[in-house]
Amino acid sequence: MIAELGHFALILALVLACLLACVPLWGSWARHYAAMRLAPALAISVGLFCLISFACLTHAFLNDDFSVKVVASNSNSLLPTVYKFSAVWGNHEGSLLLWVLILSLWMAAVALFSSDLPTPVLARVLAVMGAIAVGFLSFSLFTSNPFERLLPAVPADGSDLNPLLQDPGLIIHPPLLYMGYVGFSVAFAFAVAALLSGRLDAAWARWSRPWTNAAWGFLSLGIMLGSWWAYYELGWGGWWFWDPVENASFMPWLAGTALVHSLAVTEKRGLFKSWTVLLALSAFSLSLLGTFLVRSGVLTSVHAFASDPERGLFILVFLAIVIGGSLSLYAVRVPAVRNPIGFSFVSREALLLLNNVVFLVATLTVLFGTLFPLLMDALGKGKYSVGAPYFNAVFIPLMALLVPFMGLGPVSRWRDDSVHRWRSRLLLPAAIVSSLAVILPFLFGHGFNLWVALAILCAGWVICGLLDDLRARKRASIAWWRLLTRQPASYWGMVLAHCGFAAVTVSVVATTQYSVERDVRMAPGDRQVLAGYEFIFDKTERLRGPNYLADAASFRVEKDGSSIATLRPEKRRYFASSSLMTEAAIDASLFRDLYVAMGERVGDDGAWAIRLHYKPMVRWMWLGASAMALGAFCTVFDRRYRAVRERRTMTISAHASAH
């Protein structure tokens, strides 16, 4: 009964979304204000019905309703309650419903928090989002209905959630990632609405900027959690594999990074308008492409669920409509946009343009590497795969090219600046950073390493640009603490995000260069020394978990004779699916991780294949990525965006009193 209710709510949501996509748009065309004013109410009700539908599916999962097909094939009565909850999106149908839910929630949020937008703009934005919702709701209803029943043959128990997904990280990773993916639909809708109205101005950029930053922040968090999950759950100790699905989330992130910076120029200076619109269109198109790659199963990947081609075709058609439609609109409308203001080559605009070019080229190279196997297969040239070395070889030089200009960015002035000024301000910091880059690698205790030195140079350069900018903001009369509290939220957001980038840079390079990884054969009583840490294999024992049996090993780690940690990796066998899972044990700290994972039993003497890792600085990667996301959220709270609303209400009331 509950499942049918959810199905019905989903159908209602589709009907309402169809209305939302048509009525306000017609209203904005015919200047019919009552039709336009329907948009917020429709958007909120679509959100409400999606929420009801999602709640019904969750209810089915939590109450082990195995007559629902999705529940029967992705849950089990022994599954802990938390994982029953996350199992809702641990499968194709449910994750698509989550996608729809999040889209409708963004839509409702736009309807609620944008009451200060002019009615026609809000109507167009919501109508475009409504059209996207129609696409995804019909995808969910027609090709992957989550409420399909297994009647009358109801199975006694479910066939369990994939053990890889039974993990706390997976409870929040997909929702956050989707928040980011779908969040770009807001920027997309604003861009399309602006193209429809033919008005691309600084006000447009100011409206869409907080939404874009928030979406980018969520996407950063989602990617960060995915990387962290892969690190401790897959049992390989890797944190980024350039897997097609990782790339699928990374491409919108790269395009989104370019968009965030280009929006800044459009808002502050009214430049790069058509370029910004193009980026907004591509960021969301890349999100859709990512969905297609993940959901259609065309690529070999750890994320692909078993899937059927009909679904892939549906998304492909949808993708073609969205990309083709928005680009045609762009081609028709954009020639009318003119940039009357110029800028010099030595200015903040030029630096941000460079940022955009680098990020765009990075997006394209990742896109090319990801689609290359598909392209070759379609041409009948054989089944290729593009490995991580390709992406590293292309991506790392691009990012290294970015950093010198990234340090200059905060110091630079809009419109016109001089190289001489930059030189006089940054020569001393540059000298200090260079000497630090030579000295600091020795502190790691692994000897000098050129790559680590270069990474420190890059990170130091970015940070010294920020510090110099802060120093320049200080005038003689203000005390330091007042200076700090007076800076706007968007300034702190920028600082946090750039510091996060610096942390990620150092972490990625230091981890790659200094990690020690060893796969060894160990029996209880054996010892291995790795990077100065002695791992002692004490014993193995049998453990029983809620829905699995495990072989748990116990390792003591000693350094210089004193005990540091006890690590207990596990090898689990889950009852329902009888699949094996490696549970790695990690001793985490700010400067190094010690990582033990069990392979398989080898030989007859109780020996195991054991994977030992020593990973310095690996935490900084996730801390840095979190700082980037936090920075993005920070900018959303900038007073500037609220001030607009206050000013607008003031002018409106002034108008009203004048009449």
Binding site: S159, N162, L164, G235, G297, V298, L299, T300, V302, A304, F305, A306, G342, F345, L353, V357, V361, L364, T365, F368, G369, F372, G382, K383, Y384, S385, V386, G387, P389, Y390, A393, V394, P397, L398, D519, V520, R521, S577, S579, L580, M581, T582, A597, G599, E600, V602, G603, A609, R611
Partner: protein, 168 residues
């Protein structure tokens, strides 16, 4: 020339230079880092190159898994039900690796007679003779859930299944 035009020209020229550098980088990186998939039948027929990174995939032959007693070296046969290829790997196999299941191994093909190395670790006592050609794998990927099969493997197996039914 009008200053705005000149500026636009510079922007365009620098973008062109930059992107051609990027394209060069891509082509260079791609040439070294792509690898082609070969079903075992092609490997046995000598269509796959030696000492070049390739991938080989298919089903793990039941009972073909041999482990070394001293190290983590393993050896197994991968088949597409037409021919089979020996894969040698040193390291930890993925959790879902099992005999009779689909697998993709990436590595380089070695001719044991010409190089004479790399394959020496397999115990002589096991009674298995060394094959002439074997894949020295540096990565073994297994399927990751109950129903999923890597598309290349599925296609290679399907092709042979239909070929077996209808020889023409």
């Amino acid at each position: 020339m009008h200053p705005v035009r000149r500026q636009r020209l510079w922007v365009v020229v620098s973008i062109v230079l930059f992107s051609s550098a990027a394209v060069g980088l891509v082509v260079y990186a791609l040439r070294q880092n792509i690898n082609l998939f070969y079903p075992p039948a092609d490997v046995v027929a000598g269509k796959a190159p030696l000492n070049t990174p390739i991938r080989v995939g298919g089903m793990v032959v039941e009972g073909s898994l041999v482990r070394s007693n001293e190290s983590l070296e393993v050896r197994f046969e991968v088949t597409d039900f037409v021919e089979s290829v020996t894969v040698v790997y040193e390291g930890i196999l993925p959790d879902l690796f099992a005999e009779g299941e689909g697998v993709v191994a990436s590595g380089r093909l070695r001719d044991s007679q010409s190089t004479g190395s790399g394959l020496a670790l397999i115990e002589a006592g096991s009674g298995v003779s060394l094959p002439t050609v074997a894949l020295i794998a540096d990565e073994v990927l297994a399927k990751h859930d109950e129903n999923y099969m890597p598309p290349e493997v599925a296609e290679a197996l399907n092709k042979n299944a239909t070929a077996a039914i209808d020889p023409l």
